[in-house]
Assembly symmetry: D2
Homo-oligomer: 382 residues x 4
Amino acid sequence: MTVRRRLRLGMVGGGQGAFIGAVHRMAARLDDKWELTAGVFQSDPKHSREFGRSLGLAEDRCYGDFADMASAEAKRTDRIDAVSIVTPNHLHVPVARVFVAAGLPVICDKPLGISAKDVKALSSAVRRAGIPFIVTHTYSGYPMVRQARAMIEAGELGKIRVVQVEYAQDWLANDLPENKQADWRGDPERAGPGGALGDIATHAFHLAEFVTGLKASALSADLSTFVEERKVDDNAHVMLRYVDGAKGMLWASQVAAGEANGLRLRIFGERAGLEWEQETPETLTITKLGHPAHILRRGGPGLSAAAIAATRLPAGHPEGYLEAFAQIYSDAAELIHAHLEVRAPEGFAALAPGVEDGVRGVQFIEAAIQSHAHNSAWTEIS
Amino acid sequence: MTVRRRLRLGMVGGGQGAFIGAVHRMAARLDDKWELTAGVFQSDPKHSREFGRSLGLAEDRCYGDFADMASAEAKRTDRIDAVSIVTPNHLHVPVARVFVAAGLPVICDKPLGISAKDVKALSSAVRRAGIPFIVTHTYSGYPMVRQARAMIEAGELGKIRVVQVEYAQDWLANDLPENKQADWRGDPERAGPGGALGDIATHAFHLAEFVTGLKASALSADLSTFVEERKVDDNAHVMLRYVDGAKGMLWASQVAAGEANGLRLRIFGERAGLEWEQETPETLTITKLGHPAHILRRGGPGLSAAAIAATRLPAGHPEGYLEAFAQIYSDAAELIHAHLEVRAPEGFAALAPGVEDGVRGVQFIEAAIQSHAHNSAWTEIS
Amino acid sequence: MTVRRRLRLGMVGGGQGAFIGAVHRMAARLDDKWELTAGVFQSDPKHSREFGRSLGLAEDRCYGDFADMASAEAKRTDRIDAVSIVTPNHLHVPVARVFVAAGLPVICDKPLGISAKDVKALSSAVRRAGIPFIVTHTYSGYPMVRQARAMIEAGELGKIRVVQVEYAQDWLANDLPENKQADWRGDPERAGPGGALGDIATHAFHLAEFVTGLKASALSADLSTFVEERKVDDNAHVMLRYVDGAKGMLWASQVAAGEANGLRLRIFGERAGLEWEQETPETLTITKLGHPAHILRRGGPGLSAAAIAATRLPAGHPEGYLEAFAQIYSDAAELIHAHLEVRAPEGFAALAPGVEDGVRGVQFIEAAIQSHAHNSAWTEIS
Amino acid sequence: MTVRRRLRLGMVGGGQGAFIGAVHRMAARLDDKWELTAGVFQSDPKHSREFGRSLGLAEDRCYGDFADMASAEAKRTDRIDAVSIVTPNHLHVPVARVFVAAGLPVICDKPLGISAKDVKALSSAVRRAGIPFIVTHTYSGYPMVRQARAMIEAGELGKIRVVQVEYAQDWLANDLPENKQADWRGDPERAGPGGALGDIATHAFHLAEFVTGLKASALSADLSTFVEERKVDDNAHVMLRYVDGAKGMLWASQVAAGEANGLRLRIFGERAGLEWEQETPETLTITKLGHPAHILRRGGPGLSAAAIAATRLPAGHPEGYLEAFAQIYSDAAELIHAHLEVRAPEGFAALAPGVEDGVRGVQFIEAAIQSHAHNSAWTEIS
């Protein structure tokens, strides 16, 4: 067992009251492969530095501005090994651009940006820089999601026919004028043009492509905004066509009373079907035609190497969202170690979603909005 | 308690090897309100009569032809009180027309027919005849479905926003050249133009309208035929728009490996959401925004009069498909008694689906086929 | 397919307001193998006859007294083929004795009686008379229960180690002075010495022996009466030792708030374990050591002949309690046809519980009461 | 928000290949309240130090012997704030005694020791030393377990009647001669006299007392050893009597084929019942008599302050075993901060199990063994 040094993590965003920043920090900590070292956490420089100190950062690693941080860190010999970008959506690309330009690897929240043009440009920059760039489509970090992917890749479902994916929540069923999380997500300037589309449908879209290994070629979308005051969609109905003949449906909703974080994926092939639900992530149901269903469980018998590599605890000791998120961070660590050591990444680190996955997500948002604007006409995703 | 005489039931179709005919007979028997009295069960007169005798029918009530049966029965003083039509789809209208013309009430399987024009004509004839006509959308007979309907009617969900309904099976995942059930269902001459559309999507479509009390005004459909040899659709993806702003999705599939009879309904209103699944029909999950989910169970506390009226056994003694089906037959019995006694039906018998529901189903099929033919263009249902 | 005549059923008990009588009648009707022909339904002869007429019985088959009924029926050429005894417990043996003496087969509710001495005498009488005698341990009629039994018999679980069975309800969590069902069940004169023990624990005890094929040799019991006014136990905790080294626990409760009819069985062998729950009776979970769990479903792939023979509908069309009950009646019909035709019963009719199972149940009750009286000392069941 | 310094954690045990040591370290890391600072991880001093270095410990904090560690640490100004003892059971007391004598707080795995006499002596020493001592009954750290406890404490279930608890696994269904975890657990010298009793039944026993707030006064036990080569019990059937009239059953098994880590608790009071299962820890089902069941979920509406305080993520983002474990570590941190600052602990830190809970566990083991030796005679737990 090679023991590698803990990597140094920088962070942009994720200050006081930001949900996802704290999650990134817990996820980075869990597997002990990262140490939070530097950051700019809030727009106000003074508050940002205070917050950094409260996290135990050294004084000179608490920055007031992300551009300063990028240039200062790039000059240090003990520079950060990557920066996590956990700001509202509209800042993802501007911030990422600066760190990429400084040659610093990036771990960026989704959606990658608010316009397909921007994210494609970013993607080119990343390619030219030749550095790791991870997009936190967290749900691809779950062991049983990776199990599903491995089984489809191995042909156990046969040719894929139908892909049903959905992501339903209810926290925006009413207008939430006082809620910080709701505030920027409902503002097209900061969230981008998609509401439920950007915040959750992109996860569902990625999950379906990740697990099936198929690309969606076109979509037909019917978007709704049920809460009157809202400026973006809060419910998206989408029909999908995948290359190679598979058909799909995607439903994303933030107004589905009773749903908390209901991401569910069902895939049906010529030989078998599978089902996975994020709220009970430990099991994966597989049914081969003509056989009883069987229930694969994390840590249990019959799993692929990819699933086993993403697990920490024995079966029956529930893992959850943080472990899935930690997996992405551990994959990122391996990608960066490999980059530093100029070698191929070990294990299954390459499963971590990258900049191209981020581009797909933004293209999906734009296609859905365009389809909706044309009375749900079938629209290419590209 | 008024005890009413057992009604006399005739049957057309449902001979040797026909699944649904036997189900109709068990359902009619369960609540002891019907006695099978006459029938023509198969196209071959000799086999038909033999089959009738094996069911214990009197010799003179075993017919060789449905038109003979209608005219002979109409002349008897102990004539049948209704006829059940359980033939392949293409015969529903021709048979029903004859019995309606003879003044005999009808209980007809779905879809009501194979063209909207025909079923509209039938509907007019029924209206003119002024007789009961029931369409066996079985699933509306489940107590917890009626509970869902009653709660929405009472406003407990608030204004409806989103309706997700699906009906997934896998028995046609492969070509079944030897299967009698599959045979006629795959033949447009006998099944009509819809495959999964006619056989199962119509149930899902009816269920959604039945429970919400909303009419779907338009749809956008993407139909597929995954099994090469098949002449009709085996998977239907449909987006729906309901009057009054609600949006819906309907998925019907006969190739969904692992699914047996997966009819599921989820409805989300401004104040609450609900979920019901046919394979576990005893419970209904209700979640009011800001409250924990609660699980209503058949026979348990907190139910509406409509649900209570449709239940036979105490909670925890599972009822199922046959009881739901029996409920439709018991409702039909009450509709017919009321008709004979020239009074309004008692209880909740009027919940039984009627000829207009049958018409809606065929209109839905036609709209879906038309939409699909026009690249999923939004198409009115009428 | 041999079509056999419908058998004529007599009934003792089950008049107005009696839950289980109506259930027996529905169960007898479902498979069309029985026709209710005669009966004495209530203790008052006038009400009894009225009730019989309301069920459509002929005038001369409506009796006022069970002894009269037995002697009158025995003299008829169109005599009843069996009598169902659905009275309170204390009448089971007196009524059964009379019909057995008259040579008439019996279908009797459980527990078979209120003293082991009595039921053993009855059992001897039945043996001497050589007639079919069925005890309605309904739950053994479920297809997936029979599947479980078949798998254990075939050795798929290996040697049985642990048997966990429970039957939990909450309908007697409070005193119910006005409830007719509760009334006699709480009266040791009519119910016998066991409360929960007799009413539900006997079902659980039978189920465990039925499925495992093992006899319980001894028990240690701790009985409770939580509702102050009650004269019999309403909660029973029992440890069991089976012949051949298996160990078990049995819990029966009528005060388990939240439980409706929670009969659950889990069995663990050297090679595999299984789980079945009566409230979701359509599935049976099997887990072989070192393999993922698989879920067998009624009507689905991978089932034994015994399970298939007890099923009416395709998978996904839920069957329930009435079908399980109907199975016992259909088995009884076959046992009686075989008896009349002096041949061995066909299929799996011999799985129907008989008088010896009834004796075991009463022995179990007496052993539990004796153990409890001796501070839970281990007590033989015999 | 007061930000307190990270506490310094020492560890005894948990070296290469030890499951629970790694879990303790992840749990300690998750909430960022602890920093692993010192340790002796294996019996061989050289390997122990190597392992410590591989975890990133400073050279002088990698010890070869626990007594040296205790005395060396006690002398430092930057001494560890607590030691985690994660050795096999027989070392818990000897190690704890030394650290307690050195005035260093202890976090100890369960069971606390291998004889009731020893753990009572330890408990006295802890009381005299006046220092925090936490026993890692992990499952009491789950938010929904704390919710259950809070509801019972608030009287929502009424007087408790029945407590059904079980803990079932299958990993020891066969002899595992090569398995390091199985090895010491099957050796009475190192594991103590209980097998399943010590390893898992103690958790179940604690959980029931923790949630109900009731003490079990006596038990009747039937222990089994199904795997021939084994020297300790692998299945325990226990009946319990609680003070104040409640009755209980406890089942613990390591040979229950199909069970991974099936800890389940059901509690029934005069007014309501509840159910919680460790493998799906995010929900708690509550049923009030006469009302539909409701499903409380972590992060959702309707929760107590105690549950809310133990949660990290929004509803629907599954938390699991590590978060429950982390909660015990965070509680421990607060108990130690409070101890250092000579103040009462804030929040719900006092819910963390302490040395007395550890004593109860060992008394339970001894009572069960004694009862079993006396043919399941009722035996006091003290």
